[in-house]
């Protein structure tokens, strides 16, 4: 189960991740132990994020992208638990720590939350307290992580609101969330998240609940802030348009695991996994000359309890190989550079069965 605390003491082996890598998630498994059975929401995810870059995690709803994001901050709701895996994070002082091994209620992780890693959520309305002012929530974050007085915190809060483009910031500081529009609320959330200049911003579908123009504004804002501060962004979305716009690297998730990952160009122009290709084909294109039906992936995402054997995508896959895809767990196969895919179409036939490892 969870690694013990002693592991924290010798985490300083920087060999784990190189200097350029901020976050490295290895074979993360987060399962939900419900009365009806175990839901393996995240079941072996790998991702790696470099300093100052943007990594997009894409996938259909229910593929485990949000749980992955929450696992990093250790705010997975009960009855969810990290079962195994590593979340290596390089702190400001260069020390590398494994977030997966921390006590989710402990002091260490609380220093990370909001200080080194911040998060913004899908619903700006419900992620702000209905009975506290925006200002009190920004100031709370500042006072928790920075050694400043209340007045300085307030000043900083005003400048944060200004930074994220909220008009009349010193007045809006005393506004309640219900007095702001959706876009303004998300700006306020970003202000809270960035108040302590985190190294990593996790954005969990931050534009999904917003209308299209506001979406664009928020994306621009995040990109601008990223350029100014040099922070990294882990961006969770199901919208490939957004991915094309902001991503440096992409991880495609299906049923709780990464099926393909690589830089944005190889994913969009040289996609290998049938699922990734199917996703790309499902984007409506206005420049398409032919008048044909929009492609849609056959079947639906299986019920959480009914995960298929072998490759989880095989029942919906056009390139399904009988007796192989439904029995062999595809290993990760490197294509070129950082571009890798988990699909039996690309791994050598003899290599596959031996790789059917049995961890956990």
């Amino acid at each position: 189960m969870q690694p013990t605390h002693t592991k924290l003491d010798h985490v300083d082996d920087t060999a784990k991740i190189d200097n350029q890598t901020l976050l490295d998630v290895k074979d993360l498994k987060t399962h939900f132990f419900t009365d009806e059975g175990v839901v393996k929401a995240v079941d072996g995810v790998n991702l790696s994020l470099k300093r100052g870059e943007t990594l997009c995690v894409v996938g259909e709803s229910g593929c485990g992208k949000s749980v992955t994001a929450r696992s990093i901050l250790r705010i997975v709701p009960s009855p969810g638990e990290i079962v195994s895996g590593e979340i290596n994070f390089q702190q400001r002082d260069g020390e590398v720590i494994d977030l997966a091994g921390m006590n989710p209620k402990g002091r260490e992780i609380r220093k990370i939350r909001g200080g080194e890693v911040s998060m913004i959520f899908q619903e700006p309305m419900s992620s702000l307290s209905p009975v506290h002012t925006i200002g009190s929530q920004i100031m709370e974050a500042i006072l928790l992580h920075l050694p400043v007085s209340r007045q300085e915190a307030r000043k900083r809060a005003v400048s944060m609101l200004d930074l994220v483009g909220i008009p009349r910031p010193s007045e809006q500081l005393d506004a309640y969330s219900f007095e702001l529009s959706g876009g303004m609320r998300q700006r306020a959330m970003i202000a809270i998240a960035l108040a302590c200049e985190p190294q990593l911003l996790i954005a969990d579908e931050p534009t999904t609940a917003l209308d299209v123009t506001t979406q664009a504004n928020i994306l621009d804002l995040i990109r601008d802030l990223q350029q100014d501060s040099g922070m990294s962004v882990l961006f969770i979305t199901h919208d490939l348009g957004v991915v094309a716009e902001i991503a440096d690297d992409v991880v495609v998730m299906y049923l709780g695991r990464d099926v393909e990952s690589g830089d944005v160009d190889s994913i969009f122009h040289d996609a290998k996994h049938p699922y990734t290709r199917a996703l790309l084909q499902s984007i409506p294109r206005y420049d398409s000359r032919e008048n044909r039906r929009l492609y849609s992936i056959k079947g639906t995402v299986p019920h959480p309890f009914g995960r298929p054997n072998g490759c989880p995508f095989h029942p919906r896959c056009d390139d399904f190989i009988a007796d192989r895809c439904d029995s062999i767990d595809p290993p990760r196969h490197s294509i070129k550079g950082e571009h890798s895919v988990r699909c039996l179409l690309y791994s050598a036939a003899d290599e596959a069965p031996s790789n059917k490892d049995v961890p956990s």
Binding site: K105, R110, R113, S127, L128, P130, V131, H132, E140, M189
Partner: protein, 325 residues
């Protein structure tokens, strides 16, 4: 805020009108007018002139709406609630002290309920599905299931049987009719705990459940995760956000807990023989002393309506969203 309060007070007017009509209906319900029953009850012959004067005063020969008008305007302009024929006194001489004691008991009980229910409710929600939660839940249900008066009877029996004490009443015998003094107040306080506990049991049980359910709702809200993601400690987080939000419905719960308290105290007071409005109402109803009964129903209703108003204003004060609606 002022505008909100003003609007709530304007809303009160139709409510008060309806309440006064209901109270008037209660007065009118027994067959025959009350003068007939007065005359039949009186031991000596009644002076005809006096009867005529009363007839004139309450407009008994006039249409019903005139009677209502005379009655209600007498109350509003002169504080004249009519006359109790059972006691042969003006109603207003009988009710104020009892009404005051009813308010005191109800407020103390309310305070008791809150002080007990909130911490237990929080505990129960945070420790969901643990032994402690189950114990609280079961005790809460039992508290809800025992009628107040039964609890009163059982506690009185226990006190009588095992401590040889006759509990009940709000004063020791020597203070019942005494003038108000510090000693009388202390005596009152030493008698209050039993009725407060008895009256508070059901309300406490109910509010524990409300608090638990509300808090469970709030605990799963996104803003809690967002605050946690900011690095707040679990305890601070709990009290600053979900508990704070979950308290709002609890304040609005006063709107129904308070009427229930006043209402429940009617019966418990009869069993415990408290000097509150309940036993007086009961006696007046049995004796068909209708002006007294009607006035009591009116005043107790007004009392609860004011309680509701206060809780609404409190809620608007602590929850900024309310004023907008």
């Amino acid at each position: 805020m002022l505008w909100y309060i003003a609007r709530r007070i304007i809303y009160l007017i139709p409510t008060l009108l309806i309440v006064s009509i209901i109270a008037f209906v209660v007065i009118q319900l027994p067959p025959g007018d009350f003068l007939a029953s007065l005359i039949s009850k009186a031991e000596e012959t009644v002076d005809q002139a006096q009867v005529d004067a009363l007839r004139e005063r309450y407009g008994l020969d006039e249409p019903i709406y005139v009677q209502y008008w005379k009655w209600i305007s007498g109350i509003i302009t002169k504080g004249d609630f009519g006359r109790s024929f059972e006691w042969n006194k003006d109603v207003s001489d009988l009710i104020w002290e009892r009404l005051g004691l009813t308010v005191v008991i109800s407020l103390l009980t309310l305070a008791f309920i809150w002080i007990v229910a909130i911490p237990i409710g929080i505990y129960s929600a945070v420790k969901k599905y643990t032994i402690g939660d189950y114990v609280v839940t079961v005790i809460g249900f039992i508290g809800l299931a025992i009628p107040n008066f039964l609890l009163a009877l059982v506690l009185m029996y226990i006190a009588f049987r095992y401590f040889g004490q006759s509990v009940g009443g709000l004063f020791s015998p020597e203070y019942i009719v005494a003038e108000w003094s510090l000693d009388r107040v202390l005596d009152l306080l030493s008698h209050l705990w039993l009725p407060v506990i008895i009256l508070g049991t059901a309300g406490t049980a109910a509010l524990i459940r409300v608090m638990r359910a509300n808090l469970l709702d709030e605990l799963s809200k996104l803003y809690v995760d967002a605050a946690r993601a900011r690095g707040l400690s679990e305890l601070k987080l709990l009290f600053k956000y979900p508990v704070r939000v979950a308290l709002n419905p609890l304040v609005s719960a006063v709107a129904w807990v308070f009427p229930a308290l006043v209402s429940g105290s009617a019966i418990t007071s009869i069993v415990l023989n408290l000097q509150t409005t309940g036993p007086l109402l009961y006696r007046s109803l049995q004796a068909q002393d209708m002006y007294l009964a009607g006035s009591l129903i009116l005043l107790v209703s007004v009392l609860t309506i004011i309680g509701t108003l206060v809780s609404d204003i409190l809620l608007a004060w602590i929850d900024p969203r309310i004023q907008l609606q």
